[in-house]
């Protein structure tokens, strides 16, 4: 049984007379297996929160079905709530009550016997902070408390919507640890983010949502491979060069900025060969740098179509003054 399964899930907002109609989620078939950590990735406005809202019965699908832990999300929403821990987006706590009291209510509502102090410690909230009213909390403290409330009663499935928002680096590290601990104890974790780095660090699988549609589902490595942008070679030459000095084999893109060459390789072994070729043909190399493909590029590759090309287009016209005009047309430097 899948932890989450949606079938043809669609959410359509009728804009009324003045507004535009919006399809926030479009015919989404999402499957999250039990026990996996699933990163639900997409730019802001892609429909991530709308999808999560429908998993939790905060909003109702226009079409399609949602099953969470085998329960129908609408008809059996209470059964879902009993087994799922939730950190929703745009939530608020009870400002006048202390952090501890908020947590105590969560424990009572979940009919659980958790120790509030242990949960607070787990998310790094001290006893002093816990006894203050939530109205005084920073965004990061609120998010920690929200996380503690989601962990009540050791849920079978954790649904975290943009859990890192408002957290400082320590908080993000803590969040990552908690997700790992929960995953190790068999909890399925489904969390959304628009920041790739956070997904990469903890997720077994990643689904990329764009404009309400799932454009890719794979492991982070698989996605990187499929996007064909595995690594980048940065070369600084002693004088101005053109893109065609680099051999096309194993190369997806060459970007020229004055004396600098940025070569995107689909095969990282191409890097050494390119350097050797250039030296052989008498070019002088001042500096060599190398980096893994940026995840932003990978992300963009899925959400904007061919992002590798796009990322070079804007810069070329301005920087390549020394190039012949016919070479300035977009795509002319894409070798592969």
């Amino acid at each position: 049984m899948a932890a989450i399964r949606t079938n043809g899930l669609t959410k359509h907002y009728d804009g009324g007379i003045m507004g535009a109609d919006v399809t926030a989620v479009d015919d989404l078939d999402l499957v999250v297996q039990e026990g996996e950590v699933y990163g639900f990735l997409g730019p802001n406005g892609a429909g991530k929160s709308t999808t999560i809202d429908m998993l939790l019965d905060y909003s109702r699908p226009t079409e399609g079905t949602v099953e969470v832990l085998g329960h129908d999300a609408i008809a059996e929403s209470e059964a879902v709530s009993e087994r799922v821990g939730v950190l929703p987006e745009g939530y608020g706590l009870y400002d006048r009550l202390s952090g501890r009291r908020n947590l105590e209510f969560a424990i009572e509502w979940q009919d659980a016997d958790d120790d509030p102090a242990a949960l607070l410690e787990r998310v790094g909230l001290g006893a002093d902070d816990a006894s203050r009213p939530v109205a005084d909390y920073s965004k990061g403290m609120t998010q920690r408390l929200g996380l503690a409330m989601a962990l009540v009663d050791d849920p079978e499935l954790l649904i975290l919507d943009e859990p890192s928002s408002g957290l400082d680096p320590n908080g993000i590290r803590l969040l990552r640890e908690i997700v790992r601990e929960e995953a190790d104890s068999g909890t399925t974790v489904f969390f959304s983010s628009h920041i790739l780095g956070q997904v990469e660090a903890v997720c077994d699988r990643v689904g990329i949502l764009d404009d309400g549609e799932l454009v890719a589902v794979d492991t982070v490595d698989g996605l990187r491979e499929a996007a064909g942008a595995s690594s980048t070679l940065e070369l600084t030459m002693s004088n101005g060069v053109t893109a065609d000095i680099v051999d096309a084999e194993g190369v997806s893109d060459v970007e020229v900025r004055g004396p600098r060459l940025r070569v995107t390789c689909t095969d990282s072994r191409a890097k050494a060969r390119i350097v050797a070729d250039l030296l052989d043909s008498g070019h002088e190399i001042v500096d060599v740098g190398s980096e893994s493909a940026s995840l932003e590029e990978l992300f963009a590759a899925y959400t904007n179509g061919t992002a590798v090309e796009e990322s070079t287009d804007g810069a070329d016209g301005a920087d390549d003054a020394d190039e012949p005009p016919q070479d300035e047309t977009p795509g002319s430097e894409v070798v592969a």
Partner: protein, 294 residues
């Protein structure tokens, strides 16, 4: 059924907020004001404690709905706007539990407010004038609390039906203005449309029922059973064709309806009406809330 948990949380939250105590303060101040008026207007010493009860009932038409609406109109939509509804519904509460739990929670807040306020003011009456008849005091107190709860039901129903605070406030104020100013005129209008003439000193029984179907009319009906006389509307519109110098004994309902009073014009029927005002809007609010996206 977890409505009791929702109600408890709601009550505790209200106690923490300044709202509850603010309302108690307003109500006590209002009762003290009534008392001062009662002392100053009473022409004969023996009538003073009854006069205090009558005046209380009279001014309760204005203050109880005000207090109950203020206490209730944000019950659901306030949590929707702050996002705490997303937390509440993330736990095993159904939407029905949320709406009815809120109704119970806010009703408790209002009942406590009105009970404390009334107790203080009755103590004042007892100290300053003399002890009024305790049965009447208890009856009027019950009527006031029931009235408050029925308006709370309306407020929670409104709160569950809308998506913004502004709309909730507009509906809350609008409905109170209808009950204070428009309802009796509408009843007279319906009467004129059906019978061809405005209601006079005597009229058909159903006309009086129509007037008493508003929560304020229903409260007057119930309160009249305990204050030893007629409770006039807080705002008199003068639509009925009644000679201006009619003695007030002639305005008692039994003199205005031919024959025996039908059951629906008895005082207890006002209590039934109030109960319906508590339940029906809450139910309608729930039915709308059930289908809405947060």
């Amino acid at each position: 059924m977890t409505w009791a948990q929702v109600a408890r949380k709601d009550f505790e939250d209200a106690v923490r907020s300044k709202m509850l105590w603010g309302l108690v303060g307003v109500f006590v101040a209002f009762m003290a004001f009534v008392l001062v008026v009662a002392i100053n207007t009473a022409d004969a010493a023996e009538a003073t404690s009854e006069a205090a009860l009558g005046l209380t009932a009279n001014f309760a038409q204005l203050f109880v709905p005000l207090i109950a609406m203020i206490a209730g109109y944000l019950a659901v939509v306030g949590e929707r706007r702050t996002g705490s509804l997303r937390i509440l519904l993330g736990y095993p509460h159904s939407r029905r539990d949320v709406v009815f739990g809120k109704f119970v929670g806010r009703s408790t807040v209002i009942a406590v407010t009105l009970a404390i306020g009334s107790a203080v003011s009755i103590l004042l009456v007892a100290l300053v004038i003399k002890s009024p008849d305790l049965a009447n005091v208890a009856g009027l107190l019950t009527a006031i609390v029931l009235f408050g709860i029925s308006v709370a039901g309306l407020a929670v129903g409104i709160s569950a039906s809308v998506t913004s605070r502004g709309r909730a406030m507009a509906l809350a104020i609008g409905s109170m203005l209808v009950f204070w100013l428009v309802w009796d005129a509408m009843a007279a209008g319906v009467y004129a449309a059906v019978t061809g003439s405005l209601p006079g000193l005597t009229a058909e029984g159903w006309y009086f029922l129509l007037k008493r179907l508003s929560p304020i009319g229903a409260f007057r009906t119930v309160a009249e059973g305990f204050v030893g006389g007629r409770v006039p509307p807080i705002f008199r519109l003068g639509i009925e064709e009644i000679p201006p110098n009619t003695p007030s004994e002639q305005l008692v309902l039994s003199k205005r309806v031919a024959g025996q009073l039908p059951f629906y014009l008895k005082n207890w029927f006002g209590a039934v009406t109030l109960a319906a005002w508590g339940v029906v809007p809450t139910l309608v609010g729930y039915l709308r809330f059930r289908r809405m996206d947060l």
